[in-house]
Amino acid sequence: MTTIRHIEHEQIVHRCFRCGYCKYPSDYSDFNCPSYKAFGWDTFAPGGRMWLTRAWLHGEIETSARFAEIMFSCVACDNCKDQCVFPKFKDFLPDIFQETRAELVGEGRIPPGVRDYFKAVAVSGNPYKLPQSERGDWAKGTGLKPYTNQKYLFYAGSVGSYDEVGKRMAQSVGKMLVDAGLSVGILGAEEGCDGNDVRALGEMGLFAQLAQANIDTFKAKGVKEIITLDPHALNTFKKDYPALGGKFKVQHYSEVLAELIKKKKIKLKAYPVKITYHDPCYLGRHQQIYSAPREILKAIPKAEFVEMHRHGANAFCCGGGGGNFFTDILGTAEDSASRVRVREAAETGASILAVACPNCAKMLTDAVKMENLEDRLEVLGLAEILERARK
């Protein structure tokens, strides 16, 4: 077969068996690929995507709005990478989908929502099209100072800086870090978009620009250690920035808070409440950070921690990964990821759904409303919960 288009991993695309293990968590309890769950066609499952990618590379199917929808509805949650049956091969599944999206970006055939997202980030530096000058406003009242030469840079990211739910989360983390006496500062209006989702959606040129600008700023300011609010930022800072010359020590705030609790820098009182926790894909499957958030929640005296049926490496994505937070290709129907996820959280009987990512916070907060669960379930960031339990 002749190949008329090219992607980096084209040599292995044909190896997908289409068996579908990758649709599931390890116990097969429900579909764990958010786009398959939402759309219900095999073409929207990882195997379908692999087979269609191959057909498309060989010119058996053309570029179309449907093909783009199929590719851009993958939320880069990495479940397929964990669950596929073929060792080694499986590590490249999300890369193949990302490379295909990049190729579509190159051809200029992308869904309108994706195009608008790129444009907003390129023009305004954030997807909300809000002024750069307002980027640091969220930090007012937290005690956080501009970054000069403190030990840590606290990186809030676009959602933490501009979205109402995200800002609350950023504020609570910021306050917690300051109160614990950490030497930490923020970039405020000098902070740039991390580019993780731009990259996931395949706009490699824009990603390179964003990443380079951030790296230059970090270096110019003498930043050595970064604490991120957003696991998306954590992911790209750790995975992609080093290759571009950006080598920093990067931690997620949950790791830092867990450490501060252990060192008794954050002291907690009894808070009798039942809590469950949603693993963000970029923190869990992408970065293998599962225990720090749980350590935090388990450290709260009298709080009862319960797991959702799908948790840890088997967690179901909130649907906000890989840029879908902004592009919303998965939609908000009954089987959309965020709605499925909050129903699963409610089943545990918990009254708090703890989150560690501002994207998840927003997705799940909205879904709680759609599912009419406001009376039963509150979505809160880890630090927001700690605020209630702090002595």
């Binding site: 190896r15 068996f17 068996c19 579908g20 219900g40 066609w41 449907r66 049956v85 073929f86």
Partner: protein, 460 residues
């Protein structure tokens, strides 16, 4: 927009039907070696009534309807050979009832094996079903439509023998219940003591109707499962070994496998013996029975039990993920197998044939046989892996499998999940009156020939 497309949208809504090139391309093929053929529409119903309306529409318009689970038979059974509608049943995936005391479950016709396994584990941990080693995405209704076999087949027969009732949408659009649910609310018998009408549907590969609900027997899920692995290089002893093991009546499942890769397996026949118990005492008692039964072969140095320690968890996994791995041994993501149902005494001839065909066609083989009903027969898999990017290799595999099936028929075996070519070979050999009976049934049930046409197409 065509009238048919609009009518389908009226039935299942816009999200339930597609005639986009992407779905048509994907649903025109399966992972095996047979050539694809495009459907005109792919439709994903959510209720029995939707299935009924789709079938009625197809009847009016004389369009083929091909029910599909996960399309993993590898035998092209869901390739729409004559176009029409591929009916993706997987959105009908509710587990409707488990009767723990009656040990049966009832689910919709697109429910996956994985979903039932997981549901039972969570809600009824003392119960299990006969899980095949097919990927967990494959559906229960599809499996009984092709007389599948699973982990409990050695003890209780084909998985289709474990059906306890059906709800069918007939090719004429009527909804019909089969077995005890046709009389009352309980789903405990597919036939007896009535005339067993389930035979009009089980094994028919969707050519006589669509299963919208299926009842299935459940069995005790013992607390402990264990496995022993007996290895011999004397193929002629395999039938006897199996005979001795089945005489014990203590084994959950017995498989015999041989493969050339990795090298350590070459030349040996591996008998995997699974057994279960509620206590360590029960397990040890059964283990002793198993060992004792094969003592004379060990004394004669014809074989021995191999330590399973390092591969125990792999062997005990259900479904066995590593079975799918075979597809990627030539780094090409494909394999296909014929699985004739044959007599155990013929094991050595079948084994020799696999190796002969692999050499002749220069392809990689693996074989695993599973005992059926305590040894009345076995499913002997003749599997060849291929590289999906190598059309010539795929062609060689297809030829090797054709030849394997001719051999199996010559040996008096019957093909399992036969592809459309094998069905023709089989029908040609069938005793004429039996063939006439099949034709009569098919014609009466599906007078317009709309159900999975190309399959079980009996010519007068």
């Amino acid at each position: 927009m065509s009238d048919i497309l609009q009518s389908l949208i009226d039935i299942v809504g816009e999200k339930g039907v597609s005639n986009e090139p992407e779905e048509l391309w994907f649903y025109s093929r399966d992972p095996g070696v047979l050539a694809p053929h495009k459907p005109d529409y792919v439709v994903a119903p959510k209720t029995t009534e939707e299935v009924q309306k789709i079938v009625q529409l197809a009847g009016r318009e004389k369009i083929p309807v091909v029910p599909m689970g996960n399309g993993m038979s590898l035998a092209g059974l869901v390739i729409p050979l004559k176009g029409g509608i591929v009916l993706d049943m997987k959105r009908m995936n509710k587990i409707l009832e488990v009767n723990p005391m009656g040990r049966y479950a009832v689910m919709e016709g697109g429910t996956s094996q994985g979903a039932l396994k997981s549901y039972l584990q969570k809600n009824h941990p003392t119960l299990r079903h006969s899980l095949p080693d097919a990927p967990p995405t494959t559906t229960i209704a599809a499996n009984v439509s092709l007389h599948g076999q699973g982990r409990l087949t050695n003890q209780y027969g084909f998985n289709s023998d474990m059906v306890t009732g059906l709800e069918m949408v007939l090719p004429t659009g009527e909804i019909c219940r089969i077995g005890s649910p046709s009389i009352g609310p309980y789903w405990f018998s597919k036939g007896p003591t009535l005339p067993d009408l389930s035979g009009l549907f089980l094994g028919w590969l969707g050519a006589t109707g669509i299963i919208t609900k299926v009842g299935l027997k459940l069995f005790p899920n013992k607390k402990i499962r264990d496995v022993e692995l007996f290895v011999t290089d004397r193929v002629e002893l395999v039938p006897q070994i199996l005979y001795k093991l089945t005489h014990l009546e203590v084994c959950e499942d017995i498989n015999v496998w041989f493969q050339p890769k990795p090298q350590m397996f070459l030349g040996n026949f591996h008998v995997t013996i699974f057994f279960t118990g509620d206590t360590e005492d029960e397990i040890e008692f059964k283990r002793k029975m198993i060992w004792d039964s094969l003592q004379e072969h060990m004394d004669a140095k014809d074989g021995g039990f191999m330590s399973v320690q390092y591969m125990k968890s792999t062997l005990l996994e259900m479904p066995g993920r590593t079975i799918a791995d075979f597809a990627d041994v030539p780094k090409g993501g494909g394999f296909e197998y014929s699985g004739p149902i044959a007599l155990i005494e013929h094991y050595p001839q079948y084994a020799a044939k696999v190796v002969e065909l692999a050499q002749k066609y220069n392809v990689l083989y693996a074989s695993a046989a599973r005992l059926i009903s305590g040894g009345h027969a076995m499913m002997f898999s003749i599997s060849f892996a291929f590289n999906r990017d190598d059309a010539a290799m795929m062609e060689r595999v297809e030829k090797a499998l054709d030849e394997a099936m001719t051999f199996a028929l010559d040996m008096g075996g019957i093909p399992w999940k036969p592809n459309h070519k094998e069905q023709k070979m089989l029908l040609e050999r069938m005793e004429p009156n039996a063939r006439k009976l099949l034709l009569m049934i098919k014609k009466n049930l599906d007078p317009q020939g709309i159900m999975n046409p190309g399959n079980w197409e009996v010519n007068a």
